[in-house]
Every structure is written in structure tokens, then in C-alpha cells.
């Protein structure tokens, strides 16, 4: 890990100005806030340690399931055991007769919920079963064990209907969604068919990515309590503001009648982005029983109810000149959603902005099947989309006999292809060049299957990465206390990323204060409202609001004469205005991932020897926590490439890998030397900190880099993830492709 030494890190003019403002103590204004003892170290870009690190490693940090109000009851859900149908019989008598059982909620007796935007939260409201694993009842008891026993004792009868969980490229239910990620589901630019037909070099290839699951370490859990009509929940969530708003809609309450706390969250990766069943069920059960209720979803139930990355079937066609410049590019994807609601894995989106493509076709099609509802998983769209696109680029490089790094450089567009907007900054070419240098990409023999060491074949591969810059409205409060301390309040969420730490750095930088004088309160809906931790937008969105509030506070302090009043000074700012208008710039982070793999030709086992990511993602605010983000994303990409697979059971319609023994994620032994590097990218068109999001880009590109390296190793192109030994062996046995 290191930042690149070439471009010098400098503070943005705006920030430098503010440090100047904060620095000089004024003899006639002995306000402690403006009197640091010595020049401060530059707080932005410093590798500050996690503010809550000690609490976490000592077990003092409390998670949602670790709050136990007096009289707390425990809940255990009952999942449907059919893939499609209706509940025809419910017998809860045996369950209710068990000792310690308080209630069994079903669609016949559960509190009525108002309908709102997310029908996956319409829990226990009707008899329809849209997929296996859908919750049909909830047992509540004095103890966890009694609740689990009661759940097992609930008898549910079903009228089943034939189910369909298998997506195919020619599924009769396929349709083009109206809207995908703010654009149309299908987009044509120029005349793809004619340009492709005329291209001297072409590839026309298909790839598949299976369903995947986020599986954060902390399962989805909530503790809910009603006190005099006020609902308080501790929820494992990526955004307590959104949870509060959705609970308000479901229970027809004002948001001021609900407090949602998500102080520490053990990972989410998108699976906790919006409210999930646990928090709604806990609140329903608490209302129904009049007791606080705790509900931690069992690991084996998670795949069916908290979302998954939908499978994607890709067809990529690229036409290019002999010089490698792309003239025609089509990326068409097929995916599934549930019958409950539409969710589109936006996998053709990156093809709209990645490369020169005067004639372009990008199409999403999906069918509503009897499957659990898919949702966000780290880099939705980009992760599977860039796997296919970057694999196809590699295939084109082979066809043209052009180095794959060079091919990407030749297709770096001057403006965003789909919109014509200029890029706020785009340093993909620099990432490719610097990354190649660090990795030792050249000299490289492009021939496949020639690097043999005993039973092993070695190969290297490269892929580009990208992730869009997103910023959402957030509000923050900054308070200067009479004793010289500062307190920042914003409902950000730290899902393990280091948000609390980085927000402290931003506040300290603006205020010119030492970090230990700044307290940052996050993770409660009683704080000023903020966007959820998702879309790699947290730091930019929350940070901007914190920056603005601190800037205003500083101005107030400078205008203040004499000691502060006992109650201190408080200012609140929001970024509604700043975030309302779309940027005139195309704003994306970029990166290049390099992989070296070995393939055991006897067993088909693929192991990664080295991974190197080189990123350009604006200003890196904290290299310590940023490295975790980049490297963690890359390791997740390694899992996506080699082992993660949530196949649907054709007989029963559920996911077959429902625990962490069956759903393989990388073990330590799978993770080789992983390096993440970044350029110090200056971009004045982002936010006052100059940062782009870094939470997701690490997973993007890594699967293609590994897959391309596998081709280079063995000379066979594997186009279906994950690259498990059965597939590799079959490819090794087949003639070279």
C-alpha cells in the first residue's frame, strides 16, 4: 500500500484557506476554539486510526442485537417452504402451547401495515407466498430458544402453484424496464448493427454471473420497543434515516415518533441499504405483544429475505478497426427480479461510459420469477457488467494481437460517450500505466498456456475498474462548546468503513482543531438526517454537510467576541442546494486491476498469486481506512471470480448455499499478496474535500482481471463465473479456444 509519489499531494485552495483561518490565535479574542497550541498536522489525508477501533476489538461496541431492554422478548421467523402458492391453513396452537411462548404473528393477526414503496416489507399482510423463504409467521417468546421451538411448531398448509426460478436468455417473460439507474433500460446510439457488420475485427461473446449474496458478518438484527407511542429500534442498517422514514410510512407515524439507532454495523455491502424484514417484524411484534422484541435473522434464512445480486446473462459484441479503436459496442444483459417488486441489476450501464463507442447498444431485459427479491450488492451493475465488458475487451485484444493495457488506452474517450459531457477527471490511462509498471506487466509474452511450472500453468491479466460519483443531500450540525470542544451531529452510518473517523478528520480540518477535540455523533435518526451508507456516496455526502456546517460555525466563531455563552454555538447546514442540480461533468472513479494466477492442470484449481489495484478516486482522505476499502473490495472480487455461487435449487426454488460452510468466500489461504495504490487525483468538480467514493470500486474489475489471467494461463476462455475446478478441468480437457 502506498500513495503514488509522482503527483504531489496539496490541499485544495479552499481547504488551505480554511486552515489559515483556523490557525492563528488572536490575542484579543481568547476563544479556545481558535487557539491551537502548535501548527496542526494536515488532518485530511492522514492515516488516523479508527475512532471506535478499541471499542470494537475489546467487545465494548454494541451492535443491534446486543441491546436488551428490560422485559425483552425474542422472535424467530417462519419461512415459507413452498416456492409459490397461498397459505390455506395456519395452526399455531401447538406453538402457543409451548412454555414461554407469547404470541405467533401471522397474516391473520399481525398489525396492519400501510402500503409504501417497498413491497418486500409488506410482511405478514396476506396469504400469498411469492417465493420460498418468504416469511409466513413470527414466533415471539420469553427466550430465544422458546421462540425457535415455537417457530418450528407452527403448521402451515399451502396451495402450491408451479414455480419458475430459472432465468434463460430466451425466457418468455423477458421485458425491457423503463428506467435503469436514471437512464432508459435500453439505449441505442448511432447504428450498431451496421458498424458491427462493417468492423474488421469483432468479438461476440456471452458470459454469466450467478446469483451472489452479500453475507455481512453481522446478520440482520433489530431490537424494537414502544414507549408511550414512541418506537425505538436498534437496527443493523446502512442508514437509520431511511429506516426511520420507511417505518413511519408502514406504521403511519411521524418520523419524530420513531428513533432508529445503528451505531455500529458489522458490514452490509448493500444488503442493509434499505430496511429489511427484521426491523419491521421486530416493531410489529413489539406492538402486538406490548414488550420489547429482539430479532436476529438466522444466517440460513438470510439468502431468502435480505436480497441478493441477481444472476446476469451477458452478450457483448465489440467491433474495432485494425488499430484497436472500437467502432461498435453492444452490451445486452438478461437478469431476473421477483414477483414482489422490480429490481434491475444495472449491468449494461458501464458500457455507456467506459470506452470510445460511436455506435452503441446497451440493453437490460429481465423476467419476474418466483425468486427472492434481488437487491444491491457491492457495486450493483458495475461488478457483473465490468466482468463481462472487461473480459470481452481481453478477447478483443487477443483477436487484434494488441496488448490489453494498450487496447484500453487506445479507447479512452475524451468525453463520456453516452452524454458527451466532459469528465470531471478521468485517469484510467494513468492507472493502467502506473499499475502496469508497479505490477511488472511488461515484458509479457501474450501467448497463452506457455508458462508451465510442474503441474501449474501461470498467467497474468488486467481489467479496468470504474464506479460513479454519487452525492446526496445530507444535513449536519456543528456545535462549539464553551470548554473549547466541538461536537458534530449527522446521521451517517459506519458500516466498518471508518466513516466516523473520516468525518472527524473533515471537521478537524475545517475547524483547525485537533481531532481529539472533535466529537462526532452518528448512527441515530434523532440526528440531522443523512443519506444511507451506499453507492460509495457516504463520505462525499455526509462530509460535504459536515464541511459546510463547520465552515459556518467557524465564521460564527470568528464573528463572536469574548467567551462563548454557556450553551455554546450551534449551526446546522444542509446540502440540498449543492446536490439538487446534476453536475455538468461526468464524474467517475477509475482503476486498473492486475492479477497473476496459477492453474493446477491436474485438479483445475485456480489460485491467485498476486493482485494489484491502481486507483484514481479523487483525494484519499485516510489512507489507512481507504486501503481496507480497496483491498476488501478486491478480495470480494476474488471470491466472485473463483468461488461465490448462490445457485437456485431447481427442485425447491431456494438458494442451495445458505450458510458460510456452503457459500464459499475467500479464506485467508486464498488471499495472496494484495496491493492497493492510488494516484493523488485533483478534481475540483466533486465536493469541498475533493473525494470520490471508494467503497465499491475494488470489487469492479477484479473478477475480469482474474478471468483474463486464467485465459493467459491455460489458453481456454471460461465465461461462466465462478471459475471452479469442474469448469476449469472441462476447459483444460477441451481444445484451445
Amino acid at each position: 500500500m502506498s500513495h503514488d509519489p509522482v503527483p504531489e499531494r496539496t490541499a485544495s485552495p479552499e481547504l488551505s484557506h480554511q486552515y489559515e483561518q483556523g490557525r492563528p490565535p488572536s490575542p484579543d479574542r481568547p476563544t479556545p476554539h481558535l487557539a491551537p497550541a502548535a501548527p496542526l498536522p494536515h488532518p485530511l489525508g492522514a492515516p488516523s486510526v479508527r475512532r471506535e477501533g478499541r471499542e470494537k476489538v475489546t467487545g465494548a461496541a454494541r451492535y443491534a442485537a446486543e441491546y436488551t431492554p428490560p422485559g425483552c422478548a425474542y422472535a424467530w421467523p417462519v419461512p415459507a417452504t413452498v416456492a409459490r402458492g397461498r397459505i390455506t391453513a395456519l395452526d399455531t396452537a401447538a406453538a402457543l402451547a409451548l412454555p414461554g411462548v407469547i404470541a405467533v404473528l401471522t397474516h391473520e393477526n399481525a398489525p396492519r401495515l400501510a402500503s409504501m414503496g417497498d413491497p418486500t416489507l409488506a410482511l405478514l399482510q396476506e396469504d400469498r407466498v411469492p417465493h420460498r423463504g418468504w416469511y409466513v409467521a413470527l414466533a415471539v417468546a420469553d427466550t430465544l430458544e422458546a421462540a425457535r421451538d415455537a417457530a418450528e411448531a407452527v403448521h402451515v398448509g399451502y396451495a402450491t402453484e408451479p414455480h419458475d426460478v430459472r432465468i434463460t436468455a430466451d425466457h418468455p417473460g423477458l421485458y425491457v424496464p423503463e428506467e435503469v439507474f436514471g437512464g432508459p433500460g435500453a439505449r441505442e446510439r448511432g447504428d450498431f448493427d451496421a458498424a458491427f457488420a462493417a468492423a474488421p475485427a469483432t468479438v461476440d461473446v456471452a458470459y454469466t454471473v450467478p446469483p451472489l449474496h452479500n453475507h455481512p458478518m453481522e446478520p440482520h438484527a433489530a431490537t424494537a420497543q414502544w414507549t408511550d407511542g414512541h418506537l425505538t429500534v436498534h437496527d443493523s442498517s446502512q442508514g437509520a434515516t431511511r429506516v426511520c422514514e420507511d417505518l413511519a410510512a408502514l406504521f403511519k407515524l411521524g418520523t419524530d415518533e420513531i428513533t432508529v439507532v445503528s451505531e455500529h454495523v458489522g458490514g452490509g455491502f448493500g444488503a442493509k441499504g434499505t430496511p429489511r424484514p427484521q426491523v419491521v417484524l421486530a416493531a410489529m411484534a413489539a406492538r402486538h405483544t406490548g414488550r420489547p422484541v429482539k430479532l436476529a435473522l438466522p444466517r440460513r434464512q438470510l439468502p431468502g429475505v435480505v436480497g441478493h445480486r441477481a444472476p446476469t446473462l451477458h452478450r457483448v459484441r465489440i467491433g474495432a478497426g485494425h488499430d484497436g479503436v472500437i467502432t461498435a459496442l453492444a452490451h445486452e444483459i438478461v437478469t431476473h427480479t421477483s414477483t414482489v417488486t422490480e429490481f434491475v441489476e444495472q449491468a449494461a450501464i458501464p458500457a455507456r461510459m467506459m470506452y470510445t463507442s460511436p455506435h452503441s447498444r446497451t440493453v437490460h431485459r429481465l423476467a419476474a420469477l418466483d425468486v427472492p427479491t434481488p437487491s444491491w450488492m457491492r457495486a450493483p451493475g458495475e461488478a457483473p457488467g465490468m466482468y463481462a465488458l472487461e473480459s470481452a475487451l481481453d478477447e478483443l485484444a487477443v483477436v487484434l494481437d494488441i496488448d490489453p493495457v494498450e487496447l484500453r488506452i487506445r479507447n479512452d474517450p475524451a468525453t463520456e460517450p453516452d452524454t458527451g459531457r466532459p469528465f470531471s477527471s478521468r485517469h484510467l490511462v494513468e492507472c493502467l500505466r502506473v499499475g502496469a509498471e508497479r505490477f511488472g506487466w511488461l515484458p509479457r509474452d501474450p501467448r497463452p498456456a506457455v508458462r508451465r511450472r510442474g503441474d501449474l500453468l501461470l498467467g497474468t491479466g488486467v481489467a479496468a475498474a470504474t464506479y460513479p460519483v454519487q452525492i446526496s443531500e445530507t444535513e449536519a450540525e456543528a456545535h462549539a462548546a464553551a470548554d473549547g470542544g466541538y461536537r458534530i451531529r449527522v446521521n451517517a452510518t459506519d458500516i466498518g468503513t471508518g466513516a466516523r473517523t473520516v468525518l472527524t478528520q473533515i471537521a478537524a480540518a475545517v475547524l483547525g482543531a485537533p481531532e481529539d477535540r472533535v466529537q462526532v455523533d452518528i448512527g441515530s435518526s434523532d440526528l440531522p438526517p443523512a443519506v444511507l451508507a451506499g453507492g460509495s456516496a457516504g463520505t462525499a455526502s455526509w462530509g460535504w454537510a459536515v464541511h459546510k456546517a463547520c465552515t459556518s460555525l467557524l465564521a460564527r466563531l470568528r464573528a463572536h467576541h469574548g467567551p462563548l455563552p454557556a450553551e455554546g454555538i450551534t449551526v446546522t447546514e444542509d446540502t440540498r442546494q449543492e446536490t439538487a442540480e446534476p453536475s455538468p461533468y461526468a464524474r467517475h472513479a477509475f482503476g486498473a486491476v492486475f492479477a497473476e494466477v496459477e492453474v493446477d492442470t491436474r485438479t483445475g484449481e485456480v489460485r491467485v498469486r498476486r493482485l494489484l489495484g491502481q486507483y484514481a478516486a479523487g483525494r484519499i482522505l485516510n489512507p489507512r481506512t481507504a486501503r481496507s476499502q480497496f483491498v476488501g473490495g478486491m478480495i470480494m472480487g476474488l471470491g466472485m471470480a473463483l468461488m461465490e455461487d448462490s445457485a437456485l435449487d431447481p427442485v425447491f426454488g431456494d438458494f442451495t448455499a445458505c450458510d458460510l460452510a456452503a457459500y464459499h468466500i475467500p479464506a485467508c489461504a486464498d488471499v495472496p499478496a494484495v496491493e492497493a495504490h492510488w494516484l493523488d487525483e485533483e478534481d475540483p468538480h466533486l465536493n469541498p474535500m475533493g473525494s470520490k467514493g471508494i467503497g465499491e470500486i475494488g470489487i469492479v474489475g477484479t473478477p475480469a482481471a482474474i478471468g483474463n489471467a486464467v485465459w493467459h494461463a491455460i489458453g481456454a476462455r471460461l465465461r461462466d463465473l465462478p471459475l471452479t475446478p469442474d469448469r476449469t478441468l472441462a476447459a483444460l480437457a477441451a481444445p484451445l479456444t
Binding site: 419461512p79 485438479t603 484449481e605 489460485r607 427442485v651 464459499h664 479464506a667 475446478p725 472441462a730 480437457a733
Partner: protein, 331 residues
């Protein structure tokens, strides 16, 4: 939680008496599999007889030069015993290829042998399974069976035995020592696990109330070399897609003795007698190793999605035998 009785015993006799007097009792050792299965509702013992403090935690030299491994010797400890590492490397390697470091620190020799299949249908009580509920059917045949059996399966069950250690024990001609109400008896490790046939609910030859007390290894063959190799979906903490344990003695370029067992292919560690017959007296060459593997795997009857296991097992066997023969030739 289903209530269950808990009893801690101090001697083998006490354990066996307790089991005889308690219908529905099960012995608890490391608990790494049994407790999981209780949480899943697959196992529901009425009484757990905790044998964790019995004096079965030692590895002893036998007068004939073999080893006696107490049933409570932890997997991690057994893998590290110098006598095992030096004389039975295949066993140490198999142990270290299994599970994770944390599990190996807890799991015992006896428990490892008695662990149940990880077939997804067996572990999911909302679905049919002949092993869990005889007569309900085997959805694995049509469902998810990539990890399941290609040899010796039946219409009733296609499960695999998941142990790595058991594969090495089968190749080493180990003996399983049992102590029951009728007294003590031994069963060859190769016969200890059963094929599913029409009673897949029975994994092994152990009888009701019998306690597995030890595993005995015969003396290591002079001049023999041994090795375990496992193919899996990730580098650690994954069950075998296929594995092979081999013990090979080569003299003057000819196979004097070979013992070969496959893991991940069947309801029991698959001792490859047909392959051994081909190997005995044959030139120690890759060609003959391949012929031997083919002789054994001719009986394979893969399901829709696990045909890859046959060439995988073949490649593992040929690779390990070639490696052992090469090392023998060089030193």
C-alpha cells in the same frame, strides 16, 4: 431448544452403561458437528453423554510398532505428533487438509470418523432426505449434487462422507476400536463406513450404544511413502471435491505394495482395491498409474452435475502416485 439430558462420565464403562440405559442418548466429544446438527434440528438427542474427560486423549506406541490413537485426540494434536508426521505422513496431511485451524483444535479422532454428510438436503429439515427421514426420498438426485457421490451410491442416497482423515485411515489399513454393552470389538477402517444401499440412515457399522474408543494403525511399511492430496473450491475450509490417500512401496522400479483410497466420491472412504490389483507388481510409471485409476473408476456412475469428479480423481491419483514413485526413485 429441545430439552435434553446432560451427563458427564468418567470412564468408558460408565459411558457405555449410561448409553445402554438412555434411549436416544448420544456421545458428545468435540461437538463440532453434533451441536451444529442439533441447532439445525437434524439431530435431537434426548441425552448427551459428555465423554470429553475420558482418558482417551493419548497416542500410544503399540508393541508391534503401530500406534493407538485415543478417540479424543484432537485433530490438530494428532497431525502434529512426530510419530504420525514421520511414519504416517498421509494421515498428518489429511488432517491438516480438513476444516479450519479452529475446528481442528476442537474436533476429535472419533468425532471426525462419525461426522455426518454435508449434503444440503440432509441438513435442511424442510426438505426430504432418506438419510434423515427414511422413506421420504432423495431430492439430491435431481437437485444440487455437484459435491455428491459418483461411486457406490444408491437410488436412496447419493451423499458423501466428508472426512479427510478417514480416507487416510482407509489407505493405512487402520482398525477402529469399539466398546459396547457386549464388550469390545474392532472393525477395519475400510469396512467401518457403509454404502447407503437401502438404509442410508446408517453411516457406519457402529451399533447402538457402542463407543468409539480408539483407532489403531499397523506398523508403517518399511520403504513405503505416503501422501494425501485434496482438490477443493477454495484453498482452505472446504470439503473435498475429490481427494486421494496413497501409500506406495516401489522396489527397482516396480510397485511392491500400493494402498489407495479416494475421498469425496462416495458414502465412505473408497478403498481402491481394483486399482491396487493393477498396481501390484506393475512398473511404477505414470502409464500404469493411469491404468490402475481407470480400473477403479470404471465403476463410477456420475450424476448430471458431478461427472468432473471422475477425471479429477484420476488426475489426483496419477499425480500422487507419480510423485511418490519419483521421490522413491530419488531418495
Amino acid at each position: 431448544m429441545r430439552p435434553f439430558g446432560y451427563l458427564r462420565v468418567a470412564s468408558v464403562d460408565e459411558a457405555v452403561r449410561a448409553a445402554a440405559g438412555q434411549p436416544g442418548a448420544q456421545f458428545l466429544a468435540g461437538g463440532t458437528n453434533l451441536v451444529d446438527l442439533m441447532k439445525l434440528g437434524v439431530e435431537a438427542p434426548r441425552t448427551l453423554i459428555d465423554i470429553g474427560r475420558l482418558p482417551l486423549d493419548r497416542v500410544e506406541e503399540l508393541p508391534d510398532g503401530g500406534l493407538r490413537i485415543g478417540a479424543l485426540v484432537r485433530n490438530a494434536d494428532l497431525a502434529a505428533v512426530p510419530a504420525v508426521r514421520d511414519r504416517y505422513p498421509v494421515l498428518s496431511q489429511a488432517l491438516l487438509a480438513g476444516a479450519s485451524g479452529q475446528l481442528r483444535n476442537t474436533a476429535t479422532t472419533g468425532g471426525n470418523l462419525l461426522q455426518r454428510t454435508r449434503c444440503g438436503y440432509f441438513q435442511d429439515v424442510s426438505k426430504p432426505c432418506n438419510k434423515r427421514e427414511p422413506g421420504t426420498g432423495c431430492p439430491a438426485r435431481e437437485g444440487a449434487h455437484r459435491d455428491l457421490a459418483v461411486l457406490g451410491h444408491s437410488a436412496h442416497c447419493v451423499a458423501t462422507q466428508p472426512s479427510d482423515m478417514a480416507v487416510a485411515l482407509a489407505a493405512l489399513d487402520a482398525t477402529v476400536c469399539l466398546h459396547g454393552p457386549e464388550g469390545e470389538r474392532t472393525v477395519p477402517a475400510t469396512e467401518f463406513h457403509r454404502l447407503p444401499g437401502d438404509s442410508p440412515e446408517r453411516d457406519t457399522e457402529i451399533r447402538l450404544g457402542e463407543l468409539l474408543t480408539a483407532v489403531e494403525l499397523p506398523p508403517a511399511r518399511p520403504g513405503a511413502r505416503s501422501r494425501y492430496r485434496k482438490a477443493r473450491d477454495r484453498a482452505s475450509f472446504a470439503f473435498a471435491l475429490a481427494s486421494v490417500a496413497a501409500v506406495l512401496t516401489v522396489r527397482d522400479g516396480t510397485v511392491e505394495h500400493a494402498a489407495l483410497a479416494f475421498g469425496g466420491l462416495a458414502h465412505r472412504p473408497w478403498r481402491a482395491r481394483a486399482a491396487e490389483a493393477v498396481l501390484r507388481g506393475a512398473p511404477a510409471t505414470e502409464e500404469h498409474f493411469a491404468r490402475a485409476a481407470d480400473a477403479e473408476l470404471a465403476a463410477a456412475a456420475p450424476l448430471r452435475d458431478n461427472g468432473f469428479k471422475v477425471p479429477l480423481a484420476r488426475a489426483l491419483a496419477v499425480g500422487v502416485l507419480t510423485d511418490l514413485a519419483g521421490r522413491a526413485a530419488h531418495g
